[in-house]
């Protein structure tokens, strides 16, 4: 009896530790809709950015690193998209994964003259939170999200996600703009 109780305590403690480590950034599933994970990140300019401030807008999120060649190919077109859609209730964000502020500032924000927020996901937890569980489960979750593009609707639902596909690479973001246009038309 004493042993059973001890085993129960050990198992319960293990369970609580594992759940607390993994649940913080889980994507919320509401029926077939996937809600955007809530996050708070620092921008390269040092400001705190909370995802709650995105409510009510369409949001395009690009997940990147300074060394990712496909992210760099997209960067100028992302800036163009940001400017073309700024009066259409569309916000653009770039989330950099696991890199130092100065590097991200010089190699992304300044080099491509990005005017939208560039955020620092220092440990990759936010990028991981966006990762679909069934895609490349053997890989690190933040790693499969590099060069991904995501569209969030004004209710915070993930409406579109594209992961890297170098054989059909769309650096000019033609497909994303088409999706955005469809969403804006039907809204």
């Amino acid at each position: 009896m004493k042993n059973k109780f001890r085993n129960l305590i050990i198992a319960g403690t293990g369970l609580i530790i594992i759940m607390s480590l993994t649940a913080a950034f889980s994507v919320t599933n509401a029926g077939s809709e996937t809600k955007m994970p809530q996050f708070e990140l620092s921008s390269v300019s040092g400001k705190t950015f909370n995802s709650n401030s995105l409510a009510g807008s369409y949001v395009v999120i690009h997940i990147a690193t300074t060394w990712c060649p496909y992210c760099r190919a997209e960067a100028p077109y992302l800036e163009q998209l940001s400017q073309d859609y700024q009066n259409k209730n569309v916000k653009v964000l770039l989330i950099d994964v696991k890199e130092a502020r100065d590097l991200v500032n010089s190699k992304l924000k300044e080099e491509f003259s990005l005017t939208f927020p560039v955020l620092l996901d220092e440990d990759g937890t936010v990028a991981s939170a966006f990762a679909p569980a069934d895609v490349l489960p053997e890989m690190e979750r933040d790693e499969i999200m590099l060069a991904a593009n995501i569209i969030i609707d004004p209710r915070g639902t993930i409406r579109y996600m594209s992961l890297l596909d170098t054989r059909n690479f769309d650096s000019k973001l033609i497909h994303i703009k088409k999706k955005l246009d469809e969403m804006l038309l039907s809204h």
């Binding site: 085993n7 198992a11 080099e111 650096s171």
Partner: protein, 159 residues
Amino acid sequence: MKCFSRIKLLIIVIAITAGHRVILAQPAFVSQVNSASIKLVAGTTTTAKLNFRISPEYHIQTNDPADEALVPTQLFLESLPGIETGAPSFECDHLIINPDDHNSEWFEDILNVYFPVSVSDELRRGEYLIKGSLQYQACVDKHCLFPRNYEFVFSVLVM
């Protein structure tokens, strides 16, 4: 009986936590084809060759990518007293990828790295082990990987 109930509890914990994020060991996408070693006489110089295999379907940045923000493939070797290594040169099949109008050049398949090794004439005979690492940043069609280091040991046999 005691063991059985512990196993049951373990199974319950695993079942409940399945589906949560699991932290995985970082896999490597470059490996060494054969053990690296050279033999040379004290006071002489020779060229060493290392062979690395890049995993099928993967490609890694060249040692001299066009964009300085990209992570070049680089060889690092520790220095040992009496043994001097020079700048490496890289030989590999090149893969050209042209995503829209952005050309990018990569290494794929087998990567050969050559570098000069000089041994001081005062160095005693024997085997000296030099630790090294190959820094690389790999991509495959569907994803890019964080830069990694492949670590190896290089043997210099002084005769």
